[in-house]
């Protein structure tokens, strides 16, 4: 079985290598080989899932020593538990559909082989990250995921915005990575191992400490540092700024980043370290509040965006906030459940948006869309399914997972978190149906573009339909009526904090409220944008608020004025120091060494007499030293 797990990431790696080395071959070859080679990965992932399901609590682990030092050793290998098995299924499944869709979307691109090799590497890194048996290996692949996202976001590097977005995504996530690395080192030093399965056990025994930092503080500090890493990767406040810009990459890449590979890594990390996080009340509270505030904040921004991908991008930030919220209040299984359903409907929304963008010759502006329902029925109905799932309407996937989170917050009695989540849910339903109405309903606002619009062929519609089915039905995997299948699957090995018994009375109430809120959001969207009304003039009373949301609460501007300017100022200062002090010194040192080298060079006369003399002098000097040495021998 563990061999099987090892094979899962190797297939995409193989495909990536093939694509990289056979660049001359046509694009269809690269697309085919990528999809075909990913099929066994999907199958193996499902087999692993079923295996773990059949053996609750099993942990497949296979490691070999990589570096053995007297004090501690580092291992490499793989490890599969319930969470891992689920992640493998999500990642491989979404990836294969994205691989298919990509060919339709980028058919004419010249660098398709490079695109597919990056894409495969991306999937490989993510799978390897998920399978990592310890934090050090995880960190390695964590960085590789970051690198691949950089490469793919900047795929159209000739476009300045794409290059800038790629750089931004890399730099912003690096801030989080620094935190994560510090956390890993802290835990590594405290525990003497990077094997994170041991941490929570050590923490429970009170032995996870350093001479200068006692147990509770260390756990809190380390988990907060790790959480910073997750915040960066999963685009939570205040490091969310990179994700909306990352849509400068090709749309299928956005689908991959938003659904399966990149941002899921952050949530996965927190879920993986959940037992350790659960040891620190402070961290859990921070996680929950960061998640809830992010959920609301991003959904407020999404309301007014005019770029179709930007709306969906902010919706990802917001949904990731829900997952963090769930993990923070101890509803471990619900958070992962939402990750699961979100992967399907978010991939669907992005691919459907990609289908629209493709049909309209590359425009992403909602103002130029409209009336596409009849022209692109498959895209419309699948997008609608995704939108309903995102809004949390019964019986679509998002309904079950989002309600589970809100229900858990309610059951915990944390009304602030619950309300934040609920308002965000309202906004969610509103903004996504605003997109639905503006894109598909009414009359076209740009006749030229509309005239050429068409579906993208079966390579694009098949993934849409499959994802549409999943977005509709995937939620049934975890309902109160099948005793929360997924939660049981996930918690066989994990022990989340017990949810109060009173919870059993709550689901229906909570579900009713969530459903009502979602419907209200849709209703408001229908009232404002339905029937082809298009954009409305903003009433003057709302203008400041509208501008606030439209400009994303000026976070980018604030960063630009503080962090970026400050950074530049600091850089200028450092540059001065570097240029005149450090470089002067290095030059001095360099000159010194070169000088000595030159002097030594003159000893190399080429005369054998000199050589002999030097050897003799060397011998004599040694003998003289021996004679006069302190405690000399003569």
């Amino acid at each position: 079985m563990s061999m099987l797990a090892l094979l899962v990431p190797l297939f995409p790696l193989l495909a990536g290598v093939i694509s990289f080395f056979f660049r001359r071959l046509p694009g269809a070859f690269h697309a085919t080989i990528s999809v075909v080679l990913l099929i066994p990965s999907v199958v193996f992932a499902i087999v692993l899932f079923l295996y773990v399901h059949a053996h609750p609590g099993v942990v497949l682990r296979q490691v070999i020593p990589w570096l053995v030092l007297p004090s501690f050793s580092i291992h490499v290998g793989i490890q599969v538990n319930a969470l891992t098995a689920l992640m493998l299924v999500i990642v491989t499944f979404v990836s294969i559909l994205v691989f298919m869709f990509s060919y339709g979307y980028l058919r004419t691109d010249e660098r398709l082989s490079i695109y597919y090799s990056y894409l495969n590497l991306f999937v490989f890194s993510m799978l390897a990250l998920v399978l990592s048996p310890n934090l050090l290996q995880l960190y390695l692949f964590w960085e590789m995921v970051g690198l691949c996202s950089y490469l793919l976001v900047g795929y159209w590097f000739a476009k300045p915005e794409a290059a800038r977005a790629a750089r931004k995504s890399f730099v912003v996530t690096r801030i989080g990575d620094a935190g994560l690395f510090a956390g890993i080192l802290l835990l590594g030093f405290a525990a003497g191992t990077f094997n994170d399965a041991d941490y929570s056990i050590l923490a429970r025994h009170g032995t996870l400490a350093l001479p200068w930092l006692s147990e509770p503080y260390l756990v809190t500090l380390a988990t907060l540092l790790i959480f910073i890493g997750a915040v960066g990767k999963s685009a939570q406040l205040p490091l969310h700024v990179w994700l909306p810009d990352a849509m400068e990459g090709p749309t299928p890449v956005s689908a991959l980043i938003h659904a399966a590979t990149m941002v899921a890594a952050g949530v996965y990390l927190v879920a993986r370290e959940f037992p350790l996080f659960a040891e620190s009340h402070v961290t859990m509270t921070v996680v929950a509040y960061v998640g809830a505030v992010t959920a609301l904040f991003a959904s407020l921004i999404a309301i007014t965006q005019q770029d179709i991908k930007r709306v969906i991008a902010y919706s990802t930030v917001s949904q990731l906030g829900y997952m963090m919220l769930a993990l923070g209040i101890g509803a471990y299984a619900d958070g992962v459940f939402h990750l699961f359903t979100h992967a399907f409907f978010k991939a669907l929304l992005f691919l459907a948006a990609g289908s629209v963008i493709h049909a309209l010759g590359g425009t992403q502006d909602l103002a130029l869309m409209g009336g596409l329902r009849r022209k692109m029925p498959i895209t419309f109905y699948t997008f609608l399914a995704g939108a309903l799932a995102l809004s949390g309407i019964f019986p679509f996937a998002g309904f079950w997972s989002k309600d589970a989170i809100l229900g858990a917050a309610m059951a915990k009695g944390d009304w602030v978190l619950y309300l934040l989540g609920l308002i965000a849910a309202f906004c969610t339903a509103f903004y996504i149906f605003r997109v639905v109405f503006l894109t598909f309903a009414g009359a076209p606002r740009d006749e030229d573009l509309h005239a050429h619009a068409h579906e993208g062929g079966w390579v694009m519609t098949v993934p849409l339909v499959i994802l549409g089915l999943f977005a509709t039905f995937a939620g049934f995997i975890n309902t109160p009526w099948n005793d929360d299948f997924l939660s049981r699957f996930l918690t066989a090995t994990k022990t989340p904090k017990p949810i109060p018994a009173s919870y059993s009375h709550w689901p229906l109430t909570s579900m009713a409220i969530s459903l009502a809120v979602g419907l209200c959001g849709i209703g408001l969207a229908a009232w404002m944008y339905g029937g082809g009304k298009g954009f409305r003039k903003v009433p003057s009373a709302f203008k400041p608020w509208y501008a606030l949301s439209r400009n994303k609460f000026y976070v980018d501007e604030v960063y630009s004025w503080t962090v970026v300017r400050g950074g530049k100022l600091l850089a200028a200062l450092v540059d001065l120091v570097d240029r005149y002090l450090i470089e002067g010194l290095t030059r001095l040192v360099g000159l010194f060494f070169y000088g000595i080298g030159n002097v030594l060079r003159y000893t190399q006369t080429g005369q054998i007499q000199t050589y002999g003399t030097f050897a003799l002098v060397g011998l004599v000097v040694f003998l003289v030293v021996a004679v006069f040495r302190v405690g000399g021998v003569f």
């Binding site: 080298g597 030594l600 054998i608 050897a615 021998v633």
Partner: protein, 498 residues
């Protein structure tokens, strides 16, 4: 006792590989007299085959417990592991020689001389008797002197290098022998085991003469190992020698001489190690500093590699120097360190010389600026060269890093941290010139006109099969030892060194 039983009983275990290589050498020598010049390739391949057979024999004898035959030859851990490394080195050098032989139009003697050098080297690591050791040393040295002179196409430089090597090597042998004669005079013994037992009393009764003997032996070996200030012949010899011979004298003779030095110095002088081995530490430090400094200003690729190998000898000397402070419990670690780094160094150096040979022969490049545009024209070859240079510099993910890292840890453990710091600092210094070369490879060639365009007009450098195999093997060794050093470190940790 008949010869046959003698062979079976003892000698086969301790000297089997040596016999096989020696016999091959004689067969090759005789065959060369009769075969036409066109069968050159066949002769070299035959020689390589002999080395492979010797390797098989060696592996076969590994299962037998260590033996001492004739009170002279031994099959202990140091002998077996070093022999293994020497045979691997010999094989790589012969494969490289296949192409060098062709392109340098070397006289036919070259193949059997290479084998005799290998015989000498094997004797140096298996013998535990000062006389036998000295014979091995001389066999290796004399073969090398001749081999350096065989580069027909650059006759003048070749003979000059050989001459300097001969004179300095002669001085080295003489000084070494002088030191050894003191030891013999004091103890009447030539067996290292007997001397090891007498070591403490030697130190207590005749400290003064022991110091002189120690220093003479160190200086004598220092000349062979090209330690500063006894290194001056090195660049000339490297410059004059055919590439395969340059690879030979920088790897084979270094491995053998380091193993010999380790054995002789530790066995004879462990009684006074605490007072004596600091001299070696000083020598190591001087060698690291001066070697790297000299390489820094060098533009000639061969001389640069020569000085770099001087610096590497300094790194390799550290484990021996640490015997001064290490407890007996830590001795195996030092053996591990030395042999691991020797293995890495062998791969790096032979690989670098293989690439350099192709550069010289097919592109006429001898100076560093000739490397411009190399990365673009022959990306694979350039990539291999970069890996070797990075390995020599000690970049992580190459064996060079792991080797230096372990030596550094040993300096910390044995409390000679200052030597570790010199190692670290000079490694940083070495980055300047290794990276200088790498940078040059990526620069586009300067616009040239007329004859000045030498070496840059052609496209991709052709890679002969044998040389390609050598480069691939060295590349594999370098990276494998860097990524999974355990494959060598774990076996080494199990070796019974003495």
């Amino acid at each position: 006792m008949s010869l046959a039983t003698l062979l079976q009983a003892h000698l086969w275990t301790t000297m089997g590989p040596l016999f096989v290589v020696g016999m091959t050498a004689i067969v090759v020598m005789v065959l060369e007299l009769f075969l036409p010049a066109a069968s050159r390739k066949f002769i070299v391949l035959l020689a390589a085959l002999g080395v492979v057979v010797a390797g098989v024999v060696l592996v076969h004898t590994m299962s037998v417990p260590p033996e001492l035959s004739l009170d002279t030859m031994v099959s202990d851990g140091l002998a077996t592991v070093s022999s293994m490394l020497l045979l691997a080195t010999g094989l790589l050098v012969l494969l490289l020689h296949l192409d060098v032989n062709e392109s340098e139009e070397m006289p036919r003697e070259s193949s059997f001389l290479l084998l005799f050098a290998l015989v000498g080297a094997l004797a140096m690591v298996t013998a535990v008797n000062l006389v036998a050791l000295y014979i091995g040393l001389e066999l290796l040295s004399v073969s090398s002197y001749v081999l350096v002179a065989l580069r027909k196409r650059h006759r003048q430089a070749s003979v000059e290098g050989s001459m300097k090597y001969l004179v300095m090597g002669g001085i080295g042998s003489a000084v070494f022998l002088y030191g050894v004669s003191f030891i013999y005079g004091l103890t009447g013994q030539t067996s290292l085991y007997a001397l090891a037992q007498a070591s403490l009393s030697l130190w207590q009764h005749d400290a003064a003469i022991a110091v002189i003997a120690f220093l003479l032996i160190v200086v004598g070996l220092g000349i062979k190992l090209s330690l500063v200030p006894f290194h001056m012949w090195t660049p000339d010899a490297y410059e004059g020698a055919p590439s395969s011979v340059a690879a030979l004298i920088s790897t084979l003779s270094k491995t053998a001489t380091f193993a010999l030095a380790l054995r002789v110095l530790v066995y004879i002088f462990n009684g006074g190690a605490h007072d004596l081995f600091p001299y070696i530490a000083v020598l190591a430090a001087i060698t690291m500093l001066a070697g790297n400094w000299l390489a820094l200003t060098q533009h000639n690729l061969r001389r640069l590699l020569a000085f770099s190998s001087v610096a590497q000898a300094g790194y390799l000397l550290i484990p021996i120097a640490l015997f001064g402070t290490a407890s007996v419990r830590e001795w195996p670690d030092l053996y591990d360190n030395l042999l691991f780094y020797l293995a890495v160094y062998t791969f790096l150096t032979i690989g670098a010389f293989a690439v350099l040979h192709l550069l010289e022969h097919h592109r006429d490049v001898t100076m560093a600026d000739g490397l411009t545009g190399f990365a673009k024209k022959s990306p694979w070859l350039a990539a291999s060269f970069i890996v070797f240079l990075l390995g020599l510099a000690g970049m992580p993910l190459t064996g060079g890093f792991v080797g230096k890292f372990y030596i550094f840890t040993s300096t910390v453990q044995t409390g000679v941290l200052w030597l570790g710091i010199v190692l670290f600092a000079t490694s940083v210094l070495s980055f300047f010139y290794y990276f200088g070369l790498i940078r040059t490879m990526f620069q586009s060639p300067l616009p040239t006109y007329g004859d000045a365009a030498q070496g840059q007009a052609e496209g991709r450098t052709p890679v002969p099969v044998a040389t390609g195999i050598v480069i691939a093997l060295c590349l594999f060794g370098t990276v494998a030892l860097g990524v999974v050093p355990g494959i060598l470190l774990h076996p080494l940790a199990l070796v019974q060194w003495f």
